[in-house]
């Protein structure tokens, strides 16, 4: 399947910002599952791409002239291999065993993971866990914030895709299974889920397998991967800081659509 993505983010500031810096992870790269056909990043000034610690394509945008808004545009087309489920990797998965502040498993999460998986450490166990978390944490837009931890969302029984992914990571790691956070795009039929999406991957038998708690999907079909990390903070599309500016208004417009195929092959 070919997906066409257009993702525009606009920041408006109450006052002039004296200087700002953003880590942008808005460029997908080729993998076993996806092939980037073309991709453009529109930034206020040209920025060299680099790889971040997780191998994600990173742009560091620094602006040190006064500004009142920043517009970031990402768009392109990516071909997804729907049949391909797992992704292989040369780097050791062990660093993804470690808890982070957002993914620490408290007693409740540990017990939940234990109940759903017992002694099993395979894909079917994690699929059960995914279903369990999906029922336990209801999807509710605005119910949590970016700094909400897995334990907090689990206790509150509400959250968004980020919380679903974090809770899954906390549980999987508590079982001794390396797991990582994925940020990306999702082609969705309904309008209640954002096209910007987050899910989890777990390391099973030498490959990374996807677990989308929000959609109860263990097979990534319409998922386009942007970046991975130990949690949201490592992988989020935009992480920035600024001096001055007062309050901020952010507008994001994401459109993911299937690309009409001009038949070939």
């Amino acid at each position: 399947m070919r997906l066409s993505i257009s993702h525009d983010t606009t920041y408006h500031y109450e006052n002039q910002v004296r200087a700002s810096i953003q880590y942008l992870r808005l460029t997908p790269h080729d993998s076993e599952r996806q092939r980037v056909l073309n991709w453009q990043l529109k930034l206020p000034r040209p920025v060299r791409a680099q790889l971040d610690p997780y191998g994600n394509i990173l742009h560091v945008l620094t602006i040190d002239e006064p500004h009142e808004s920043i517009v970031i545009g990402a768009s392109g087309q990516v071909e997804i291999d729907e049949q391909h489920e797992a992704e292989h990797e040369n780097q050791s998965a062990l660093p993804f065993l470690r808890f982070t502040r957002l993914t620490t498993a408290d007693a409740a999460l540990r017990e939940f993971a234990q109940q759903h998986c017992k002694k099993r450490r395979d894909r079917s166990a994690l699929i059960d866990l995914m279903h369990g978390l999906h029922s336990h944490i209801s999807y509710l837009t605005g119910s949590t914030a970016v700094e909400t931890s897995a334990a907090e969302a689990f206790a509150g029984q509400q959250g968004v895709c980020q919380d679903h992914a974090h809770a899954f990571l906390a549980c999987a790691r508590s079982l001794g299974i390396p797991a990582r956070y994925v940020s990306g795009y999702l082609l969705t039929d309904s309008s209640d889920h954002l096209a910007s999406h987050a899910w989890a991957e777990a390391w099973l038998e030498g490959a990374w397998y996807s677990f989308d708690v929000t959609n109860c999907l263990a097979k990534p079909e319409r998922h386009l991967k942007l970046a991975i990390g130990r949690d949201y903070l490592d992988a989020c599309p935009v992480r920035g800081m600024r001096r001055g500016g007062g309050t901020e208004q952010m507008h994001a417009l994401v459109e993911v659509s299937p690309l009409l195929q001009v038949q070939h092959q």
Binding site: I21, Q22, P53, L94, P95, L97, R230, R239, G240
Partner: protein, 469 residues
């Protein structure tokens, strides 16, 4: 259990050791009132010089004077040469370990250290994977904590490869002794140490491939317990002392704000933990770091000393493997001994530890500063039971060691002169070569019987002499 301690000054038969004889004679001949007066002078001078230390656990954040004892710790030069060789060997192996760990991981493939032990360790930084550093150096500045057991043999208690502190006390203690008792330095040959700031600056400069790099000292600020040292070292080296807010990143380069405009920074001697360096890559709440610093570092435009991710090598759960590292990377026998260590993450070790809590020292693998530590023989029943519960709940967070009979050194106390336990932290600088100034920082546990020498726990310091024997 009878515990015999190695006394640095006296032999078991009460005779003074040869390298202390000149000092002992002087001590016997000098009137007590004069000594007392000199000690008062030292207190006053240290107050004026502003050598203070913010005590953790003190809610007011009160600055305390670190007690300074005027009886030096003395090491014969022949013995020091062995200690020096051992420290150099150890730090070389640790740097090679870090370079290996973040690249080929030969030591894991060779089965010497378990992969999970290091790769899932808190101190392991994914950001360092595959990153090439100038001279393959990670710990440019290391502190090796040494103690002596009952028979006088030296043991490494721990390695400090993150931001080891205390060198300013080493230097100030010497200055003070020379000022108070110049006659002692005329009477015998005591190896000088005042060139440390020069060696440090040289080390920092050679950490960069540039000819004359711009070096700065990055401090968390004046509320940090070691702020005095940060200011002291930058002044002694003649380089800028900066806080995170004084630096900024533009297009992968780091700049310092100055009255004359932005000036590029090439080497950052950072006294800030990894987690606080860059709020966009690590702890987002850090107000102390520099946004964008990690991207600049990974682009190779700035050197951090020490490098990010050294914590995996000085973690107490990695410590038991250091002697094997020395054999693996250097093909040498370790000069300095490791203390036998039980890793509570291993079930067999854990049950041994739980059965012998009253005799062991239990430490947190990630702890520093002497907190989160149980000294079995000195602990109450309640403290032991508290640790038992903690060990059972989170065994992987602890290691245990036999309680060492730390050596003692005569020390001025309220009742006169009495033996108190001491340790030694030599500072090891790695640049073009690996070097130390003779001696190091001697810390003394001022409470009778106490084995905890950390300044944050009320320990004091002594001048450390290496004397020709």
């Amino acid at each position: 259990m009878v515990r015999t301690f190695y006394n640095e000054m006296y032999q078991a038969n009460g005779e003074c050791r040869p390298h202390y004889q000149a000092f002992a004679r002087w001590l016997a001949e000098t009137p007590k009132e004069l000594l007392a007066q000199r000690r008062r002078e030292a207190d006053l001078l240290f107050h004026r010089a502003g050598i203070t230390f913010t005590l953790y656990g003190d809610e007011q954040g009160t600055e305390r004077l670190i007690p300074f004892d005027t009886i030096p710790r003395s090491i014969p030069a022949s013995e020091w040469r062995m200690v020096e060789r051992g420290c150099i060997q150890r730090v070389q192996a640790l740097n090679m370990f870090l370079a290996d760990l973040y690249h080929e991981q030969r030591i894991i493939k060779a089965g010497i250290i378990p992969a999970e032990q290091v790769l899932a360790n808190e101190g392991y930084q994914i950001a360092m994977q595959g990153l090439n550093l100038h001279r393959d150096l990670y710990a440019h500045i290391a502190g090796v904590d040494l103690v002596r057991d009952g028979d006088g043999s030296y043991y490494v208690l721990e390695d400090n490869l993150r931001t080891p502190s205390g060198v300013s006390y080493m230097l100030e203690d010497r200055k003070m002794m020379m000022r108070l008792f110049p006659e002692l330095f005329a009477a015998q040959r005591i190896a000088p140490i005042n060139h440390y700031p020069n060696l440090l600056l040289e080390t920092l400069k050679t950490s960069s491939p540039l000819d004359n790099p711009n070096v700065v000292v990055l401090t968390p600020g004046r509320f940090n317990s070691a702020y005095f040292e940060h200011a002291f070292l930058s002044r002694e080296m003649g380089v800028e002392l900066v806080e995170g807010a004084d630096l900024f990143v533009r297009d992968d380069k780091v700049y310092m704000r100055t009255t004359a405009g932005a000036k590029q920074v090439d080497v950052i001697y950072r006294r800030l933990d990894d987690d606080f360096l860059d709020p966009l890559a690590f702890n987002p709440d850090s107000m102390l770091g520099v946004p964008g610093l990690l991207s600049a570092y990974r682009s190779g435009h700035v050197v951090l000393a020490n490098a990010i991710g050294t914590g995996v090598a000085d973690d107490k759960s990695t410590y038991p493997y250091v002697t094997e590292m020395i054999r693996f990377y250097l093909d040498e026998e370790p000069v300095l001994k490791n203390v036998p260590t039980w890793q509570c993450s291993k079930p067999a070790d854990l049950s041994h530890v739980l059965a012998n809590l009253g005799e062991l020292v239990v430490k947190e693998t990630q702890g520093s500063g002497g907190y989160g530590m149980l000294v079995g023989p000195a602990a109450s029943k309640a403290e032991i039971e508290d640790f038992r519960a903690r060990l059972i709940a989170k065994p992987e967070a602890y290691i245990a060691q036999p309680t060492l009979c730390l050596s003692t050194c005569p020390t001025f106390v309220e009742t006169g002169i009495a033996p108190r336990h001491i340790d030694l932290r030599p500072f090891v600088l790695s640049g073009r070569e690996v070097r130390l100034v003779p001696g190091g920082l001697t810390r003394v546990a001022l409470r009778e019987g106490s084995l905890v020498v950390n300044s944050s726990q009320g320990g004091g310091t002594k001048d450390t002499w290496v004397v020709e024997d």
